[in-house]
Protein backbone atom coordinates (compact mmCIF):
# COMPACT_ATOMS: atom_id res chain seq x y z
CA UNK A 1 0.00 0.00 0.00
CA UNK A 2 2.57 2.56 -1.03
CA UNK A 3 1.63 5.90 -2.46
CA UNK A 4 2.20 7.02 -6.00
CA UNK A 5 4.96 9.54 -5.22
CA UNK A 6 6.77 6.87 -3.20
CA UNK A 7 6.93 4.64 -6.24
CA UNK A 8 8.22 7.48 -8.37
CA UNK A 9 10.96 8.05 -5.82
CA UNK A 10 11.86 4.39 -5.99
CA UNK A 11 11.94 4.46 -9.75
CA UNK A 12 14.35 7.41 -9.68
CA UNK A 13 16.52 5.61 -7.14
CA UNK A 14 16.45 2.47 -9.26
CA UNK A 15 17.64 4.45 -12.27
CA UNK A 16 20.37 6.08 -10.20
CA UNK A 17 21.52 2.72 -8.90
CA UNK A 18 21.40 1.36 -12.42
CA UNK A 19 23.97 3.96 -13.39
CA UNK A 20 26.06 3.26 -10.29
CA UNK A 21 26.02 -0.45 -11.05
CA UNK A 22 27.23 0.19 -14.60
CA UNK A 23 30.12 2.28 -13.29
CA UNK A 24 30.83 -0.48 -10.80
CA UNK A 25 31.13 -3.01 -13.60
CA UNK A 26 33.15 -0.76 -15.91
CA UNK A 27 36.47 -2.52 -15.19
CA UNK A 28 34.99 -5.75 -16.55
CA UNK A 29 33.47 -3.96 -19.55
CA UNK A 30 36.86 -2.39 -20.20
CA UNK A 31 38.42 -5.85 -20.03
CA UNK A 32 36.08 -7.23 -22.70
CA UNK A 33 36.58 -4.18 -24.85
CA UNK A 34 40.37 -4.28 -24.53
CA UNK A 35 40.42 -7.99 -25.35
CA UNK A 36 38.82 -7.17 -28.70
CA UNK A 37 41.23 -4.42 -29.69
CA UNK A 38 44.63 -3.96 -31.22
CA UNK A 39 47.30 -3.13 -28.69
CA UNK A 40 47.50 0.47 -29.90
CA UNK A 41 43.80 1.10 -29.51
CA UNK A 42 43.77 -0.21 -25.93
CA UNK A 43 45.40 2.98 -24.71
CA UNK A 44 43.55 5.61 -26.75
CA UNK A 45 41.79 8.26 -24.74
CA UNK A 46 38.91 9.00 -24.53
CA UNK A 47 38.28 5.27 -24.23
CA UNK A 48 37.07 3.70 -27.45
CA UNK A 49 34.54 1.28 -25.95
CA UNK A 50 33.65 -0.28 -29.29
CA UNK A 51 36.84 -1.10 -31.20
CA UNK A 52 37.41 0.60 -34.52
CA UNK A 53 39.56 -2.29 -35.60
CA UNK A 54 38.45 -5.69 -34.31
CA UNK A 55 41.28 -7.82 -33.06
CA UNK A 56 39.29 -10.31 -31.03
CA UNK A 57 40.08 -13.32 -33.19
CA UNK A 58 43.82 -12.63 -33.26
CA UNK A 59 43.97 -12.19 -29.47
CA UNK A 60 41.85 -15.28 -29.05
CA UNK A 61 44.26 -17.30 -31.16
CA UNK A 62 47.26 -16.09 -29.16
CA UNK A 63 45.68 -17.39 -25.98
CA UNK A 64 44.25 -20.65 -27.24
CA UNK A 65 46.55 -21.68 -30.05
CA UNK A 66 49.99 -20.54 -28.92
CA UNK A 67 52.80 -22.81 -27.76
CA UNK A 68 51.18 -22.97 -24.36
CA UNK A 69 47.43 -23.01 -24.72
CA UNK A 70 44.80 -21.92 -22.27
CA UNK A 71 43.02 -25.16 -23.11
CA UNK A 72 45.44 -27.18 -21.02
CA UNK A 73 45.00 -24.87 -18.02
CA UNK A 74 41.23 -25.18 -18.46
CA UNK A 75 41.39 -28.94 -18.43
CA UNK A 76 43.59 -28.95 -15.31
CA UNK A 77 41.30 -26.54 -13.50
CA UNK A 78 38.17 -28.46 -14.42
CA UNK A 79 39.70 -31.74 -13.32
CA UNK A 80 40.93 -30.44 -9.96
CA UNK A 81 37.81 -28.43 -9.20
CA UNK A 82 35.45 -31.30 -10.08
CA UNK A 83 37.31 -34.01 -8.16
CA UNK A 84 37.85 -31.86 -5.07
CA UNK A 85 34.23 -30.76 -5.10
CA UNK A 86 32.87 -34.30 -5.34
CA UNK A 87 35.28 -35.58 -2.69
CA UNK A 88 34.45 -32.72 -0.32
CA UNK A 89 30.73 -33.31 -0.80
CA UNK A 90 31.05 -37.01 0.01
CA UNK A 91 33.35 -36.60 3.01
CA UNK A 92 31.44 -33.66 4.45
CA UNK A 93 28.06 -35.31 3.87
CA UNK A 94 29.22 -38.47 5.64
CA UNK A 95 30.54 -36.45 8.57
CA UNK A 96 27.44 -34.28 8.56
CA UNK A 97 25.21 -37.36 8.71
CA UNK A 98 27.17 -38.82 11.64
CA UNK A 99 27.14 -35.51 13.50
CA UNK A 100 23.44 -34.86 12.96
CA UNK A 101 21.74 -38.26 13.12
CA UNK A 102 23.97 -40.86 14.75
CA UNK A 103 24.84 -41.27 18.42
CA UNK A 104 28.39 -42.30 19.17
CA UNK A 105 30.96 -41.77 21.86
CA UNK A 106 33.12 -38.70 21.36
CA UNK A 107 30.64 -36.98 19.05
CA UNK A 108 30.58 -33.78 21.11
CA UNK A 109 34.35 -33.72 21.24
CA UNK A 110 34.71 -34.19 17.49
CA UNK A 111 32.18 -31.47 16.80
CA UNK A 112 33.80 -29.05 19.24
CA UNK A 113 37.25 -29.71 17.79
CA UNK A 114 35.91 -29.13 14.28
CA UNK A 115 34.43 -25.78 15.24
CA UNK A 116 37.72 -24.78 16.86
CA UNK A 117 39.79 -25.83 13.87
CA UNK A 118 37.61 -23.83 11.54
CA UNK A 119 39.43 -20.85 13.05
CA UNK A 120 42.89 -21.95 11.94
CA UNK A 121 43.87 -19.87 8.94
CA UNK A 122 45.13 -22.06 6.10
CA UNK A 123 48.19 -19.86 5.74
CA UNK A 124 49.29 -20.69 9.27
CA UNK A 125 49.84 -24.32 8.30
CA UNK A 126 51.13 -23.75 4.78
CA UNK A 127 54.78 -24.50 5.53
CA UNK A 128 54.25 -27.85 7.28
CA UNK A 129 51.71 -28.96 4.70
CA UNK A 130 54.18 -28.16 1.95
CA UNK A 131 56.85 -30.22 3.74
CA UNK A 132 54.39 -33.10 4.21
CA UNK A 133 53.36 -33.04 0.57
CA UNK A 134 57.04 -33.20 -0.40
CA UNK A 135 57.59 -36.11 2.00
CA UNK A 136 54.60 -37.98 0.56
CA UNK A 137 56.16 -37.55 -2.88
CA UNK A 138 53.16 -35.57 -4.04
CA UNK A 139 54.90 -32.28 -4.81
CA UNK A 140 54.10 -31.04 -8.31
CA UNK A 141 51.04 -33.27 -8.74
CA UNK A 142 47.35 -32.55 -8.94
CA UNK A 143 46.83 -35.11 -6.20
CA UNK A 144 48.47 -32.70 -3.74
CA UNK A 145 45.89 -30.02 -4.50
CA UNK A 146 42.99 -32.44 -4.40
CA UNK A 147 44.16 -33.94 -1.12
CA UNK A 148 44.44 -30.53 0.49
CA UNK A 149 41.09 -29.43 -0.88
CA UNK A 150 39.05 -32.46 0.18
CA UNK A 151 38.39 -31.66 3.83
CA UNK A 152 36.32 -28.76 5.00
CA UNK A 153 34.96 -28.34 8.52
CA UNK A 154 33.00 -25.38 7.22
CA UNK A 155 31.05 -27.40 4.65
CA UNK A 156 30.61 -30.24 7.13
CA UNK A 157 29.09 -27.72 9.51
CA UNK A 158 26.69 -26.41 6.85
CA UNK A 159 25.63 -29.93 5.85
CA UNK A 160 25.14 -30.96 9.48
CA UNK A 161 22.90 -27.94 10.08
CA UNK A 162 20.76 -28.90 7.11
CA UNK A 163 20.61 -32.58 8.03
CA UNK A 164 19.51 -31.79 11.57
CA UNK A 165 16.31 -30.57 9.96
CA UNK A 166 15.60 -33.86 8.15
CA UNK A 167 12.70 -35.67 9.81
CA UNK A 168 13.67 -38.73 11.82
CA UNK A 169 10.48 -40.50 10.68
CA UNK A 170 11.93 -40.89 7.21
CA UNK A 171 15.12 -42.44 8.53
CA UNK A 172 13.24 -44.71 10.95
CA UNK A 173 10.92 -45.89 8.20
CA UNK A 174 13.94 -46.92 6.16
CA UNK A 175 15.40 -48.69 9.16
CA UNK A 176 12.19 -50.64 9.74
CA UNK A 177 12.41 -51.74 6.12
CA UNK A 178 15.75 -53.30 7.03
CA UNK A 179 18.14 -50.67 5.73
CA UNK A 180 21.50 -50.36 7.48
CA UNK A 181 23.12 -47.03 8.29
CA UNK A 182 25.08 -46.96 5.08
CA UNK A 183 21.95 -47.67 3.07
CA UNK A 184 20.03 -44.96 4.92
CA UNK A 185 22.78 -42.47 4.24
CA UNK A 186 23.04 -43.28 0.56
CA UNK A 187 19.40 -43.80 -0.36
CA UNK A 188 17.59 -41.51 2.05
CA UNK A 189 19.88 -38.84 3.46
CA UNK A 190 21.80 -37.92 0.32
CA UNK A 191 18.75 -37.55 -1.94
CA UNK A 192 16.99 -35.48 0.72
CA UNK A 193 20.04 -33.23 1.02
CA UNK A 194 20.21 -32.48 -2.68
CA UNK A 195 19.48 -28.73 -2.34
CA UNK A 196 22.24 -28.11 0.18
CA UNK A 197 24.65 -30.38 -1.68
CA UNK A 198 24.08 -28.36 -4.85
CA UNK A 199 24.60 -25.06 -3.06
CA UNK A 200 27.71 -26.16 -1.21
CA UNK A 201 29.07 -27.86 -4.32
CA UNK A 202 28.84 -24.72 -6.44
CA UNK A 203 30.58 -22.60 -3.82
CA UNK A 204 33.35 -25.15 -3.41
CA UNK A 205 33.77 -25.38 -7.17
CA UNK A 206 34.13 -21.58 -7.48
CA UNK A 207 36.66 -21.41 -4.65
CA UNK A 208 38.77 -24.21 -6.06
CA UNK A 209 38.62 -22.77 -9.58
CA UNK A 210 39.90 -19.41 -8.31
CA UNK A 211 42.49 -20.76 -5.88
CA UNK A 212 45.87 -19.25 -6.61
CA UNK A 213 47.96 -19.81 -3.50
CA UNK A 214 47.63 -23.61 -3.36
CA UNK A 215 48.76 -24.28 -6.95
CA UNK A 216 51.43 -21.57 -6.66
CA UNK A 217 53.08 -23.46 -3.85
CA UNK A 218 52.38 -27.06 -4.82
CA UNK A 219 52.94 -27.00 -8.59
CA UNK A 220 56.05 -26.45 -10.66
CA UNK A 221 55.49 -27.87 -14.15
CA UNK A 222 53.75 -25.58 -16.63
CA UNK A 223 51.69 -28.44 -18.04
CA UNK A 224 50.05 -28.93 -14.63
CA UNK A 225 49.11 -25.27 -14.15
CA UNK A 226 45.57 -24.28 -13.29
CA UNK A 227 43.98 -21.14 -14.72
CA UNK A 228 45.18 -18.64 -12.06
CA UNK A 229 48.74 -19.95 -12.50
CA UNK A 230 48.19 -19.80 -16.24
CA UNK A 231 47.42 -16.11 -15.79
CA UNK A 232 50.74 -15.73 -14.03
CA UNK A 233 52.41 -17.56 -16.92
CA UNK A 234 50.79 -15.29 -19.51
CA UNK A 235 51.76 -12.27 -17.44
CA UNK A 236 55.38 -13.33 -17.70
CA UNK A 237 55.01 -13.98 -21.45
CA UNK A 238 52.74 -11.13 -22.52
CA UNK A 239 52.72 -8.85 -19.46
CA UNK A 240 53.17 -5.78 -21.59
CA UNK A 241 50.65 -6.78 -24.25
CA UNK A 242 47.50 -5.72 -22.50
CA UNK A 243 45.03 -6.81 -25.18
CA UNK A 244 46.32 -10.38 -24.90
CA UNK A 245 46.32 -10.21 -21.10
CA UNK A 246 42.72 -9.03 -21.13
CA UNK A 247 41.81 -11.93 -23.39
CA UNK A 248 43.41 -14.24 -20.82
CA UNK A 249 41.49 -12.57 -17.98
CA UNK A 250 38.29 -12.93 -19.96
CA UNK A 251 39.02 -16.61 -20.54
CA UNK A 252 39.67 -17.10 -16.82
CA UNK A 253 36.43 -15.39 -15.79
CA UNK A 254 33.96 -16.54 -18.45
CA UNK A 255 33.17 -20.08 -17.17
CA UNK A 256 32.33 -18.89 -13.68
CA UNK A 257 30.41 -15.93 -15.05
CA UNK A 258 28.24 -18.27 -17.12
CA UNK A 259 27.87 -20.65 -14.17
CA UNK A 260 26.82 -17.74 -11.99
CA UNK A 261 24.31 -16.35 -14.46
CA UNK A 262 22.70 -19.78 -14.88
CA UNK A 263 22.72 -20.75 -11.19
CA UNK A 264 22.44 -17.27 -9.67
CA UNK A 265 19.92 -18.26 -7.00
CA UNK A 266 21.99 -21.23 -5.82
CA UNK A 267 25.23 -19.27 -5.66
CA UNK A 268 23.69 -16.40 -3.72
CA UNK A 269 21.96 -18.79 -1.37
CA UNK A 270 25.20 -20.67 -0.84
CA UNK A 271 27.04 -17.48 0.02
CA UNK A 272 24.36 -16.24 2.39
CA UNK A 273 23.73 -19.41 4.45
CA UNK A 274 27.15 -19.00 6.04
CA UNK A 275 26.27 -15.55 7.29
CA UNK A 276 22.87 -16.15 8.75
CA UNK A 277 22.47 -18.30 11.77
CA UNK A 278 19.97 -20.97 10.83
Amino acid sequence: MTTRTFKLGNAVLTALFGIISIFFLLPLVWMISAASKTEKEVWTFPIQWIPKEWHFVQNFKTIWMGDVSFGLFYWNSIKIALISTLATLLISAMAGYALSKLEFKGKGLVFGAMMAFMMIPEQATLVPRYIMIKEFGLYDTHAALILMGMFSSYFTFLLRQFMLGVHNDLLEAAELDGAGFFRIFWSVMLPLSRPILATVGIIKFIWTWNDYQGPLIMLNSTNLYTIPLGMQFFKEEFGTTISVMMMASLAAIIPLLVLFLVLQKQVIKGISIGGVKG
Partner: protein, 314 residues
Protein backbone atom coordinates in the same frame (compact mmCIF):
# COMPACT_ATOMS: atom_id res chain seq x y z
CA UNK B 1 25.86 -86.34 16.32
CA UNK B 2 28.93 -84.21 15.81
CA UNK B 3 27.17 -82.50 12.97
CA UNK B 4 24.32 -81.60 15.23
CA UNK B 5 26.79 -80.20 17.73
CA UNK B 6 28.48 -77.94 15.22
CA UNK B 7 25.14 -76.63 14.04
CA UNK B 8 24.23 -75.91 17.62
CA UNK B 9 27.52 -74.22 18.15
CA UNK B 10 27.16 -72.11 15.04
CA UNK B 11 23.67 -71.06 15.98
CA UNK B 12 24.85 -70.15 19.42
CA UNK B 13 27.74 -68.12 18.11
CA UNK B 14 25.48 -66.37 15.64
CA UNK B 15 23.07 -65.59 18.43
CA UNK B 16 25.95 -64.27 20.46
CA UNK B 17 27.06 -62.16 17.54
CA UNK B 18 23.59 -60.80 17.12
CA UNK B 19 23.37 -59.85 20.75
CA UNK B 20 26.84 -58.35 20.58
CA UNK B 21 25.98 -56.25 17.54
CA UNK B 22 23.05 -54.52 19.16
CA UNK B 23 21.56 -51.53 17.43
CA UNK B 24 23.45 -49.22 19.74
CA UNK B 25 26.79 -50.85 19.01
CA UNK B 26 26.14 -50.77 15.28
CA UNK B 27 25.29 -47.09 15.55
CA UNK B 28 28.50 -46.42 17.45
CA UNK B 29 30.53 -48.14 14.77
CA UNK B 30 28.63 -46.47 11.91
CA UNK B 31 29.07 -43.08 13.55
CA UNK B 32 32.80 -43.50 13.72
CA UNK B 33 33.06 -44.93 10.22
CA UNK B 34 31.11 -42.01 8.78
CA UNK B 35 33.14 -39.40 10.61
CA UNK B 36 36.48 -41.15 10.11
CA UNK B 37 37.56 -39.56 6.80
CA UNK B 38 36.83 -36.06 8.06
CA UNK B 39 38.59 -36.65 11.38
CA UNK B 40 41.55 -38.21 9.65
CA UNK B 41 41.79 -35.27 7.27
CA UNK B 42 41.54 -32.86 10.16
CA UNK B 43 44.28 -34.61 12.10
CA UNK B 44 46.65 -34.91 9.15
CA UNK B 45 46.02 -31.56 7.49
CA UNK B 46 45.20 -29.25 10.39
CA UNK B 47 46.12 -30.53 13.85
CA UNK B 48 49.43 -32.10 12.99
CA UNK B 49 50.63 -29.21 10.76
CA UNK B 50 49.73 -26.70 13.44
CA UNK B 51 51.83 -28.49 16.04
CA UNK B 52 54.53 -29.20 13.48
CA UNK B 53 54.76 -25.51 12.63
CA UNK B 54 55.01 -24.64 16.31
CA UNK B 55 57.96 -27.04 16.57
CA UNK B 56 59.49 -25.70 13.36
CA UNK B 57 59.20 -22.13 14.58
CA UNK B 58 61.80 -22.96 17.22
CA UNK B 59 64.28 -24.23 14.66
CA UNK B 60 66.37 -23.13 11.77
CA UNK B 61 65.89 -25.33 8.75
CA UNK B 62 66.40 -24.78 5.06
CA UNK B 63 64.70 -28.01 3.91
CA UNK B 64 67.51 -28.82 1.47
CA UNK B 65 69.78 -30.51 4.04
CA UNK B 66 67.12 -33.02 5.09
CA UNK B 67 65.93 -33.65 8.62
CA UNK B 68 69.47 -33.83 10.03
CA UNK B 69 70.05 -30.18 9.14
CA UNK B 70 67.45 -28.94 11.64
CA UNK B 71 68.92 -26.76 14.35
CA UNK B 72 67.04 -25.92 17.49
CA UNK B 73 67.28 -22.18 18.08
CA UNK B 74 64.68 -21.59 20.79
CA UNK B 75 62.89 -18.29 20.45
CA UNK B 76 65.52 -16.75 18.17
CA UNK B 77 63.14 -16.66 15.21
CA UNK B 78 60.59 -14.68 17.18
CA UNK B 79 63.28 -12.31 18.42
CA UNK B 80 64.50 -11.83 14.86
CA UNK B 81 60.97 -11.10 13.64
CA UNK B 82 60.72 -7.98 15.71
CA UNK B 83 63.96 -6.64 14.31
CA UNK B 84 63.11 -7.62 10.77
CA UNK B 85 62.18 -4.45 8.93
CA UNK B 86 60.30 -6.30 6.23
CA UNK B 87 58.18 -8.16 8.76
CA UNK B 88 57.46 -4.98 10.70
CA UNK B 89 56.47 -3.34 7.42
CA UNK B 90 54.21 -6.27 6.68
CA UNK B 91 52.60 -6.08 10.11
CA UNK B 92 52.00 -2.35 9.75
CA UNK B 93 50.59 -2.82 6.24
CA UNK B 94 48.29 -5.58 7.45
CA UNK B 95 46.86 -3.35 10.14
CA UNK B 96 46.47 -0.48 7.71
CA UNK B 97 44.87 -2.76 5.16
CA UNK B 98 42.31 -4.08 7.64
CA UNK B 99 41.56 -0.62 9.02
CA UNK B 100 41.12 0.71 5.50
CA UNK B 101 39.06 -2.06 3.96
CA UNK B 102 36.84 -3.60 6.65
CA UNK B 103 34.94 -0.52 7.91
CA UNK B 104 34.70 0.87 4.38
CA UNK B 105 33.22 -2.27 2.81
CA UNK B 106 30.86 -2.82 5.71
CA UNK B 107 29.63 0.77 5.69
CA UNK B 108 29.13 0.98 1.93
CA UNK B 109 27.76 -2.57 1.97
CA UNK B 110 25.08 -1.94 4.59
CA UNK B 111 23.91 1.30 2.97
CA UNK B 112 23.71 -0.20 -0.52
CA UNK B 113 21.99 -3.31 0.83
CA UNK B 114 19.41 -1.20 2.70
CA UNK B 115 18.57 0.78 -0.42
CA UNK B 116 18.41 -2.33 -2.59
CA UNK B 117 16.26 -4.11 0.00
CA UNK B 118 13.77 -1.31 0.62
CA UNK B 119 13.67 0.93 -2.38
CA UNK B 120 14.71 -0.62 -5.64
CA UNK B 121 12.97 -2.52 -8.40
CA UNK B 122 14.86 -5.35 -10.14
CA UNK B 123 16.47 -6.46 -6.88
CA UNK B 124 17.85 -9.62 -8.47
CA UNK B 125 19.68 -7.58 -11.08
CA UNK B 126 21.34 -5.39 -8.46
CA UNK B 127 22.31 -8.35 -6.30
CA UNK B 128 23.93 -10.00 -9.30
CA UNK B 129 25.60 -6.85 -10.64
CA UNK B 130 27.37 -6.04 -7.40
CA UNK B 131 28.22 -9.68 -6.79
CA UNK B 132 29.89 -10.42 -10.13
CA UNK B 133 33.42 -9.22 -9.13
CA UNK B 134 33.34 -11.54 -6.10
CA UNK B 135 33.08 -14.71 -8.15
CA UNK B 136 35.76 -13.59 -10.63
CA UNK B 137 39.22 -15.02 -10.22
CA UNK B 138 41.20 -12.57 -8.11
CA UNK B 139 44.19 -12.95 -10.37
CA UNK B 140 42.21 -12.16 -13.51
CA UNK B 141 40.61 -9.16 -11.85
CA UNK B 142 44.02 -7.99 -10.66
CA UNK B 143 45.32 -8.17 -14.23
CA UNK B 144 42.50 -5.90 -15.37
CA UNK B 145 43.14 -3.35 -12.65
CA UNK B 146 46.87 -3.33 -13.27
CA UNK B 147 46.11 -2.12 -16.80
CA UNK B 148 43.64 0.47 -15.51
CA UNK B 149 46.28 1.67 -13.04
CA UNK B 150 49.02 2.08 -15.65
CA UNK B 151 50.76 5.28 -14.52
CA UNK B 152 51.05 7.09 -17.83
CA UNK B 153 48.76 5.38 -20.34
CA UNK B 154 46.10 3.84 -18.07
CA UNK B 155 42.49 5.03 -18.42
CA UNK B 156 42.31 5.96 -14.74
CA UNK B 157 45.18 8.40 -14.84
CA UNK B 158 44.22 9.69 -18.28
CA UNK B 159 40.88 10.58 -16.76
CA UNK B 160 42.46 12.19 -13.69
CA UNK B 161 44.72 14.28 -15.93
CA UNK B 162 41.68 15.19 -17.98
CA UNK B 163 39.98 16.35 -14.77
CA UNK B 164 42.86 18.69 -14.08
CA UNK B 165 45.05 16.61 -11.77
CA UNK B 166 48.38 17.12 -13.44
CA UNK B 167 50.34 14.61 -11.38
CA UNK B 168 48.08 11.70 -10.50
CA UNK B 169 49.40 8.90 -8.25
CA UNK B 170 51.55 6.28 -9.92
CA UNK B 171 49.43 3.66 -8.15
CA UNK B 172 51.07 0.21 -8.07
CA UNK B 173 54.59 1.48 -8.68
CA UNK B 174 54.34 4.28 -6.12
CA UNK B 175 55.55 3.47 -2.61
CA UNK B 176 52.94 5.66 -0.97
CA UNK B 177 50.04 4.43 -3.15
CA UNK B 178 50.67 0.74 -3.85
CA UNK B 179 48.81 -0.54 -0.80
CA UNK B 180 45.94 1.90 -1.36
CA UNK B 181 45.68 0.75 -4.97
CA UNK B 182 45.37 -2.85 -3.80
CA UNK B 183 42.85 -1.86 -1.14
CA UNK B 184 40.65 -0.29 -3.83
CA UNK B 185 40.62 -3.51 -5.86
CA UNK B 186 39.96 -5.52 -2.72
CA UNK B 187 37.01 -3.35 -1.69
CA UNK B 188 35.63 -3.48 -5.22
CA UNK B 189 35.81 -7.26 -5.28
CA UNK B 190 34.41 -7.84 -1.80
CA UNK B 191 31.58 -5.33 -1.73
CA UNK B 192 29.09 -7.66 -3.39
CA UNK B 193 29.69 -10.34 -0.76
CA UNK B 194 28.93 -7.87 2.02
CA UNK B 195 25.76 -6.74 0.24
CA UNK B 196 24.53 -10.31 -0.15
CA UNK B 197 25.13 -11.13 3.52
CA UNK B 198 23.52 -7.89 4.70
CA UNK B 199 20.53 -8.50 2.42
CA UNK B 200 20.12 -11.98 3.88
CA UNK B 201 20.18 -10.46 7.36
CA UNK B 202 17.67 -7.77 6.38
CA UNK B 203 15.21 -10.23 4.94
CA UNK B 204 14.97 -11.75 8.43
CA UNK B 205 13.70 -8.50 9.94
CA UNK B 206 9.89 -8.61 10.09
CA UNK B 207 8.09 -6.07 7.90
CA UNK B 208 5.65 -5.23 10.70
CA UNK B 209 8.39 -3.33 12.51
CA UNK B 210 8.82 -0.97 9.56
CA UNK B 211 5.05 -0.78 9.14
CA UNK B 212 4.68 0.34 12.76
CA UNK B 213 7.53 2.83 12.46
CA UNK B 214 5.99 4.31 9.35
CA UNK B 215 2.67 4.79 11.13
CA UNK B 216 4.56 6.58 13.88
CA UNK B 217 5.98 8.86 11.20
CA UNK B 218 9.58 7.62 11.16
CA UNK B 219 11.52 8.61 8.05
CA UNK B 220 13.44 6.13 5.95
CA UNK B 221 16.73 7.14 7.53
CA UNK B 222 15.26 6.91 11.04
CA UNK B 223 13.95 3.44 10.24
CA UNK B 224 17.40 2.43 9.04
CA UNK B 225 19.09 3.72 12.20
CA UNK B 226 16.52 2.54 14.72
CA UNK B 227 15.37 -0.77 13.24
CA UNK B 228 17.65 -2.08 10.52
CA UNK B 229 21.01 -1.42 12.12
CA UNK B 230 20.27 -2.71 15.64
CA UNK B 231 18.51 -5.84 14.38
CA UNK B 232 21.39 -6.57 12.03
CA UNK B 233 23.65 -7.02 15.06
CA UNK B 234 24.43 -10.73 14.52
CA UNK B 235 25.05 -10.23 10.79
CA UNK B 236 27.34 -7.28 11.44
CA UNK B 237 29.18 -9.30 14.06
CA UNK B 238 29.65 -12.20 11.66
CA UNK B 239 30.88 -9.91 8.89
CA UNK B 240 33.21 -7.99 11.19
CA UNK B 241 34.94 -11.20 12.22
CA UNK B 242 35.08 -12.91 8.84
CA UNK B 243 36.15 -9.79 6.94
CA UNK B 244 38.84 -8.96 9.46
CA UNK B 245 40.19 -12.48 9.21
CA UNK B 246 40.14 -12.52 5.42
CA UNK B 247 41.73 -9.07 5.23
CA UNK B 248 44.58 -10.44 7.34
CA UNK B 249 45.03 -13.23 4.82
CA UNK B 250 45.23 -11.03 1.72
CA UNK B 251 47.84 -12.47 -0.64
CA UNK B 252 46.72 -13.22 -4.22
CA UNK B 253 46.58 -9.64 -5.47
CA UNK B 254 49.82 -8.71 -3.80
CA UNK B 255 51.72 -11.66 -5.20
CA UNK B 256 50.35 -11.12 -8.68
CA UNK B 257 50.61 -7.33 -8.84
CA UNK B 258 53.48 -6.02 -6.75
CA UNK B 259 55.37 -8.90 -5.10
CA UNK B 260 55.10 -6.80 -1.96
CA UNK B 261 56.83 -3.86 -3.55
CA UNK B 262 57.89 -1.35 -4.49
CA UNK B 263 60.38 -1.35 -1.67
CA UNK B 264 58.13 -3.49 0.60
CA UNK B 265 55.45 -0.81 0.58
CA UNK B 266 52.70 -3.35 -0.11
CA UNK B 267 54.03 -6.45 1.61
CA UNK B 268 51.87 -8.28 4.15
CA UNK B 269 52.44 -11.13 6.59
CA UNK B 270 51.23 -13.88 4.28
CA UNK B 271 53.43 -12.51 1.52
CA UNK B 272 56.41 -12.58 3.88
CA UNK B 273 55.57 -16.17 4.82
CA UNK B 274 55.56 -17.00 1.13
CA UNK B 275 58.83 -15.22 0.47
CA UNK B 276 60.74 -16.61 3.45
CA UNK B 277 59.25 -20.10 3.26
CA UNK B 278 58.93 -20.80 -0.44
CA UNK B 279 61.58 -18.62 -2.01
CA UNK B 280 64.29 -18.44 0.67
CA UNK B 281 63.31 -21.85 2.13
CA UNK B 282 63.68 -20.62 5.69
CA UNK B 283 61.10 -23.04 7.06
CA UNK B 284 61.61 -22.22 10.75
CA UNK B 285 61.42 -18.49 10.25
CA UNK B 286 58.35 -18.74 8.03
CA UNK B 287 56.69 -20.95 10.65
CA UNK B 288 57.35 -18.37 13.34
CA UNK B 289 55.57 -15.81 11.15
CA UNK B 290 52.69 -18.23 10.62
CA UNK B 291 52.24 -18.44 14.35
CA UNK B 292 52.21 -14.68 14.73
CA UNK B 293 49.50 -14.58 12.05
CA UNK B 294 47.56 -17.30 13.82
CA UNK B 295 47.80 -15.53 17.20
CA UNK B 296 46.79 -12.21 15.67
CA UNK B 297 43.69 -13.76 14.15
CA UNK B 298 42.84 -15.43 17.45
CA UNK B 299 43.29 -12.12 19.24
CA UNK B 300 41.07 -10.20 16.83
CA UNK B 301 38.39 -12.88 16.95
CA UNK B 302 38.27 -13.09 20.73
CA UNK B 303 38.30 -9.31 21.21
CA UNK B 304 35.43 -8.90 18.76
CA UNK B 305 33.63 -11.79 20.43
CA UNK B 306 33.98 -10.34 23.93
CA UNK B 307 33.03 -6.76 23.07
CA UNK B 308 30.10 -7.96 21.00
CA UNK B 309 28.69 -10.31 23.61
CA UNK B 310 28.75 -7.43 26.10
CA UNK B 311 27.00 -5.03 23.81
CA UNK B 312 24.22 -6.97 22.14
CA UNK B 313 21.36 -8.05 24.32
CA UNK B 314 18.04 -8.96 22.81
Amino acid sequence: MSQHATVQKRLASRKEKRTYWTRRRREQLAGWLFIAPEVLGMLVLAVFPLLFSLGLSLTEWNLVGGLSAIHFVGLDNFAELFQDNRFLHALKNNIGFTAGTVPATMLIGVVLAAVIHKKLYFKDYFKAAFFVPYICSTVAVAAVWSALYHPSKGPLNQMLIHLGISEPPRWLVDTSWSLVAIMIIYIWQLLGYQIIIFLAGMSNIPDELYEAARIDGASGIQQFRRITLPLLGPTTFFLAITSTISSFKVFDMIKFLTDGGPNYSSTVIVYQIYEEGFQNFRMGYASAMSWILFLLIMLVTSVTWITQSRKVHY
